[in-house]
Amino acid sequence: MSETRAPLVRLAGVGKHYGNIIALQDVSLEVSAGEVVCVLGDNGAGKSTLIKIVSGLHRHDSGTYEVSGEEVRFGSPRDALDRGIATVYQDLAVVPLMPVWRNFFLGSERRRGIGRLDIDFMRRTTKSELLEMGIDLRDVDQPIGTLSGGERQCVAIARAVHFGAKVLILDEPTAALGVKQAGVVLRYIVRARERGLGVIFITHNPHHAYPVGDRFLLLKRGRGIGYHRKDEVTREELTALMAGGAELEQLAHELEGIESGAAEELSAEVKRLGLTDA
């Protein structure tokens, strides 16, 4: 390793427009090995545009995108993958009816001879890779659709790690999960960091982001509205910075004059959002 290691992924002043709609403007971001960067923002803030650029699905129109200090312009997700940047999308790209191990190796099957699968190897590897990340599946032959949402998410992440990812992009991995399941995934993100991966964790939930993140990029309407290290920001500030907190509070004030019941509920909701742990 060189002494002054360039970050695995570095975006500087990146922008993207679709026709005359500016989806992303002047956004900067850095991810180094063993670091989790959380990208926070409400719907339409530009999170998905940002990951599409990083994962190679779209090209940026302005700014620079560097991988390990080298400027890149990816033509396809395959290019990004070849540079070790793997994306785990919300739909996870798994086939629910197929066994866990077949899903794990789908598209990159290990073979012995022509066409013949090395089933033994793939079963063992799947089991050990999952164990490594703290998921103890007794039966890697069960259809992946029978796993819980969190476990499925973890299998998808483990798959990306196994096939050589250096940077993981996780697109709202906790969005559709219950509290406990989300915890499983968060623990997994921490493990990935411990294994020396760079993680870009996209979420709209500051309670999920704060415990695992090293840096936080806040997006709003296609622009970065804050880029903080963990020691510069508290969980409450992070929550308040997110569109949700401030605007809900304002909405509660507005409603107060009209209907007391709804306003109370809303302000209670704001409190809950600000104070309770996820």
């Binding site: 395959r78 086939v95 009816l97 190796f105 789908l106 699968l117 069960q142 029978t146 796993l147 499983v184």
Partner: protein, 351 residues
Amino acid sequence: MNQTVAQPAQPVKLDERVTRKSPLRRLLGRPEIGALIGALALFVFFGLTADTFLTANAFSTILYASSTFGIMAVSVSLLMIGGEFDLSAGVMVTTSALVASMFSYQFSLNIWVGVAVSLAVTLALGFVNGLLYVKTGLPSFIVTLGTFFMLAGANLGVTKAISDNVATPSISDMSGFSAAKQVFASDLTLFGIQVKITVLWWLAMVAVATWLLLRTRAGNWVFAVGGSAPSARAVGVPVAKTKIALFMGVAFTAWFSGMHLLFAFDSVQSGEGVGNEFFYIICAVIGGCLLTGGYGSAIGAAIGAFIFGMTNKGIVYAEWNPDWFKFFLGAMLLIATVVNLVVRRRAEVSE
């Protein structure tokens, strides 16, 4: 109540709530199991009601009937696991027989030339089916419904135009006929039972298809493109190629069945085959293939074909009116589908 509350206090080291699958459940999770139970029940039923059912002769007749549909059910089940239908499969059998027969006859060539030309033409038809599906993005149901009618029309039209008859002239005296008959339509005696060679071909194809599905990368891709094509594409599975290959697989068995038809009867009725495509699909579905793709087995489809053969001939042996055959077949399809659904839910439900 107290006991159930007290239990979790003991640290039972279960990771979340994974896998509590008994061997019985695992067995019930197999796609073939419903069909297997159905086949045994039918066998016992006909054995008790039809006197002549449990004879070697009857058994070989049933096996023959099963094999002629079973050969097609092999590839149709693979296609269904891959998430698609082929409604043109029934008439494609006739097309392939017609091509081989008329090509050899009109050009007075050795019969094997016709057989080879027919293979090329039929595979091309399968390729076209697949290509149309991949390029248009239309449901395969619509694409092959179109090619089904086109082939059915062409079978009649071309045959009439060339031979002035709805049937092709007999080719039994042409060179190569007897050798080809040996391969595609001969009788053998195995363990004292007369067996049609199609039965052996059928079993061989089931074995190859099963190996392909469960032990090769191609098989993995078949399940994947049927289970979730977008996911398969995302991880680098060549979805379009896999689907086209599956359509060509159906074409291959259609060619084989067409050759059997030709050499068993030496003349081909050009209107034949219409409606058979549904029998193939029924065999596959009774055998546990999901209509939505991603699940099923070639062995299941073989058992489905065996059920089909047993019902078809069993009704005759039981001396019932054979007109009722289709009624029973339809009823069995419904029962099998419901049983498969229930069994699969039981076996897989986890949340």
